[in-house]
Each structure stands twice: as C-alpha cells, then as structure tokens.
C-alpha cells in the first residue's frame, strides 16, 4: 500500500474578474510513493514541482484529480521549507519554536518529557542545546535547516516533502543536509518526497525519481535508468544539460559522490 498517491491531479491557477487568465501548473499527474521511500522530483524552474509538493502536503487543493495519503493523521505529512532563514518566526527563540508543536498538540505530559524529546532530536540532527536560547537570526542556514528538520520530526511524520531544502546553502552544508535526510529516513522510516532541479543532488539522495516538464510528469523510474537510459526527449535534454554542467563543476560530484 502506498503512502502518497496522486491520481490524475491537475492544478489550475485562475485570475481576473472579467477576463479569466488561467495558468495550468500541474497537468494530470499520477504518482505513488511507497512507505520508507525517498522519491526525487526534478525539473526546471516553473515546471510545477513546488506546486506538486504543496498538493502532496495538502497546502493546496487540486483543481481536478485526487490526492490520497496513507496516514490517518494529517500531521504525519510535513514539509521542509526551501529557505531555512525564513522557516522560523524571527521573534521566537529556537527553544520556543521547538516546544510549540509539542505544547499545541499536547504531545507530551510535562516539561521534562518535552526537554528530553527535544534533546533527542537535537542529538539526531547534530545541533547542541545551546542554540535553544538563540533567535533564528543568530544561527547559520545549515543550523536552521537542521532545526527545521528536528521540528517536523517532533510530530513523527510518515511523509516529508522537502522542496529544494538545500538551494540556499553552500555545497558542504548541502552534503550535510542530504546525509541528515538519509539518516532521518533510515532512523524513522519516514518517506521523503525530495524536490530539486539539481540532478546530481537527486542522484545522490534517491533511488527512484520523476521528471516534470510543463506541469506534466514526463518520466518516472530508477535514477540510474533516468540518467543512463532516458526515454522521454525532455529527460534526455535535462540529463545532457546536467551532465554538461557537471563538467564545469567537478566539485559537485566530489561533494555528493554522484555522477
């Protein structure tokens, strides 16, 4: 049984009172993500990846089609923000931001339990407890992204939608976040929908991936098959341009061990 299933999902944005303007962001996409799987979603900017991510998160309703989650509690579907600097309320200390979901959803009995749970997750994401008293503006992008991951883990998610979680981070930190996502997947068994425009990053992270173009999911398959035996013309173009880019950026392959 799949954890997330999209059945012929389309999303159309409409604007204008008299003259209607329509933009079809996602066209008839069908996709299944299995429990414990890390699935990659690639495509150029404007291809509909992020919209699909929001549909998968339930932040948006589809214009047609159906989104089905294999979880009973919607809190089990969580997202990681693209911009770690904006993921936390700048007026709240990190400690408050981490305690807030536990208190709001009444997930733990007392303060000690709360502290213990937060301590465990900080340990998992590799951040010291001294950051709890700091404001988001006093931490680096990598630290904030780790803390954002820790915060969603407090809710025991079964599906994590990571929409370009490393875009705003430098290369070594990107590698650390990818490693952390794999650790989270291994330790908690949560499925991850990993959205990125970077083929190398996706290749280093997932086993199975899909490529989006013009709102359509043009090809889905194992990542090595997509790279070595692309079937769709757009996949061939996407892979060729990514590989050509890698010639100019050999450090990418060194950092992620992919290519």
């Amino acid at each position: 049984m799949s954890l997330l299933e999209l059945r012929n999902v389309s999303k159309v944005f409409r604007a204008g009172w008299f003259k209607k303007i329509e933009v079809v962001a996602v066209r008839e996409v069908s996709l299944r993500i299995q429990p414990g799987e890390i699935f990659g979603l690639m495509g150029e900017s404007g291809s509909g990846k992020s919209t699909l991510g929001k549909l998968a998160l339930g932040q948006m309703l589809p214009s047609s089609g159906e989104v089905w989650w294999g979880v009973e509690d919607r809190l089990a579907v969580q997202g990681i923000a693209q911009n770690p600097y904006g993921a936390f309320n700048p007026r709240h200390r990190i400690g408050f931001a981490l305690e807030e979901p536990l208190v709001y959803h009444d997930l733990v009995k007392d303060k000690q339990e709360r502290r213990r749970r937060i301590g465990e997750l900080l340990n998992l994401v590799g951040i010291g407890e001294e950051c709890l008293g700091r404001y988001p503006g006093q931490l680096s992008g990598g630290q904030l992204q780790r803390l954002a991951i820790a915060r969603i883990l407090l809710l025991n998610p079964r599906l994590i939608v990571a929409d370009e979680p490393t875009t705003m981070l430098d290369l070594p930190v990107q590698a650390q976040i990818i490693k952390l996502l794999k650790t989270v997947n291994a330790c908690t068994g949560a499925s991850i929908l990993f959205i990125s425009h970077d083929l190398h990053l996706v290749a280093a992270t997932v086993e199975r991936a899909g490529i989006m173009h013009g709102g359509r999911l043009v090809e889905v398959g194992y990542i090595q098959d997509l790279i070595n035996k692309p079937a769709h013309p757009y996949t061939k173009l996407f892979v060729a341009s990514a590989l050509a880019d890698a010639v100019c950026r050999p450090s990418v392959n060194d950092a992620f061990g992919a290519g």
Binding site: G79, Y85, N89, P90, E100, Y104, H105, G137
Partner: protein, 277 residues
C-alpha cells in the same frame, strides 16, 4: 550644516519624549499660577519673570495654561491614535488573514471611506456632533482607522507569504494561533512606528478643530484652543499664538522623530524581516 550622530539623535528623541510626558504627568506641580485664575488688571502682559510666557486676554498665565494643556493635547492624541490603531489593526488583520470575500468587502469599505477628503469629512462630522471632547475624538477617529487598517492588511498579506507562516500552518496550528502568535507579533513594531507618526497628525488635527472652536470648551487649557484665542490678538500680543503654536510644532516633531527612531531600531534589530535575507 549641523551634523548629529545617530546616538545623540536618539538621546534627543528620548529626552524630548521624557520632557513631554513629564510635563503632562506633573503639570499641576509645574505651573506658576492657577491656569484658570483671571486677572483683568494684567491682560496681555508680555513675558516677564512673574509670567514667563506673559498673560492672555483675561490675564491668565500663558505658561501655566500651556503646561496644563500638554496633558489635554497628549491625551487627545493618544486616545485618537489608540482607537485608530486598535480598530484599524483588527480590521486589517481580519482583511489580510480572512477569506478572499472578507478582504474584498473590507477593501471596498476602505476605498469608500478613503475616497472622502479626510480633513473636510472630519470637520463635517465634528460640526454635526458639536463641540466637546468625546465628540472631537469621535470625529478624529471616523476616518483615522482606515489608514491603520490598510497598513496592517498589507503587512499581513506580506507575512502570509513568508515561510514561517506556511510552516506554522503545516505544523497544524489553527488560524487563531497563527494569527495571534505568529502574524500579530510581527506587525506590532511597524504598527508602533505608524502610530507614533499618526500621533503627530492627531495632535495637529485636534489643535485644528480646537482652533475652529469645534473641540474642547474655550476655557479649557489646550494648545489648539489657546492658538484659536490668541489669533485675534496676533498683532498686539503675538506671544498668545506663538507659544501654543511652538508647543504643537515641537510635539509633532517629537512624535515624528520617535517614529523614525522606532523604524530604525526595528530595521536594525531585525524585528521584522531584515534579519538575515
């Protein structure tokens, strides 16, 4: 050209505010004479050691009336701005955070309200209601909330797009919690800046209504009312209009500077969103 360092500028702002509030709070102990006591034998006396700012057409001490009037002027300004800020902010929050239809409805209302020339409508309302302190405050708030509402709405719309608000929703927090725990605290700083600048406008507008005789009773010491009475004797006793006018100007300048100061502090301290991006 005189250049003042930022730090010295801040000291001037806080010192000015402290003096204004101090005068308003301790007014009864700072007067030289009873501000209501008439002395017809000593009308239009120029500034002297006994009457620091002279006397008015009824022989009352201008300095004492100006000191006592500080309390009334600041009270009117604070009352008007507080009402405008609370009403306007709530409507702005509702409009920015509510559904599309609520937003369209509120925006339509704002467009209608703000289509009227503000000063003329305030005068008309004050004229219909008649003189008196509550009526004057009501007249000044008929339109004043609209500016706050539009300002807060624009802030909320901008915050709605921010990732920490999306994260808060994604973490399962209810609308009420997101609005009052995440959106409102990020609006408070700018609302304070906006209000302090509005305070200057409210004091000036209240002075204007008093000047036209649409505010507090003539005998009440208030800067605008004093200016109104002083204008008739501007040729023979210019101090009667000059000192209240100067007080209004200083208070307006002070609150504008306070607004600038708070805006600078918020930008520097990263209370809004300038903290990392």
């Amino acid at each position: 050209m005189i250049k003042m360092s930022k730090k010295k500028g801040y000291i001037v702002v806080w010192a000015g505010l402290g003096i204004l509030l101090g005068v308003a709070l301790f007014a009864p102990w700072l007067t030289l004479h009873d501000p209501y006591e008439q002395n017809l034998a000593n009308r239009f006396a120029p500034p002297s050691a006994e009457y620091w700012l002279g006397t008015d057409e009824l022989g009352r001490c201008v300095f004492s009336r100006l000191v006592v009037g500080t309390r009334m002027s600041l009270f009117i300004g604070a009352a008007v701005v507080s009402i405008n800020a609370v009403v306007g902010s709530l409507i702005g929050l509702l409009s920015g955070f509510g559904s599309r239809w609520i937003d369209a409805l509120v925006m339509g209302l704002l467009d209608i309200v703000q289509a009227f020339p503000g000063a003329i409508l305030t005068l008309a309302v004050a004229g219909i209601l008649g003189p008196g302190l509550p009526n004057m405050i009501l007249a000044l708030t008929v339109l004043g909330w609209a500016g706050h509402a539009r300002f807060v709405r624009s802030m909320v719309l901008s915050l709605n797009e921010r990732e920490f608000i999306e994260s808060a929703r994604s973490l399962g927090y209810g609308s009420f919690h997101v609005l009052f725990r995440h959106v409102l605290p990020n609006c408070l700083g700018p609302i304070l800046v906006f209000s302090s600048m509005e305070m200057a406008g409210a004091i000036m507008m209240a002075a204007g209504l008093n000047f036209l005789g649409l505010g507090v009773p003539v005998s009440t010491p208030e800067w605008g009312a004093m200016l109104n009475q002083g204008k008739d004797y501007f040729r023979t006793a210019p101090h009667l209009a000059a000192f209240p006018g100067l007080a209004i100007m200083i208070a307006a300048l002070e609150f504008n500077l306070l607004g600038d100061y708070l805006r600078d502090r918020i930008d520097e301290g990263g209370l809004i969103d300038e903290w990392k991006d």
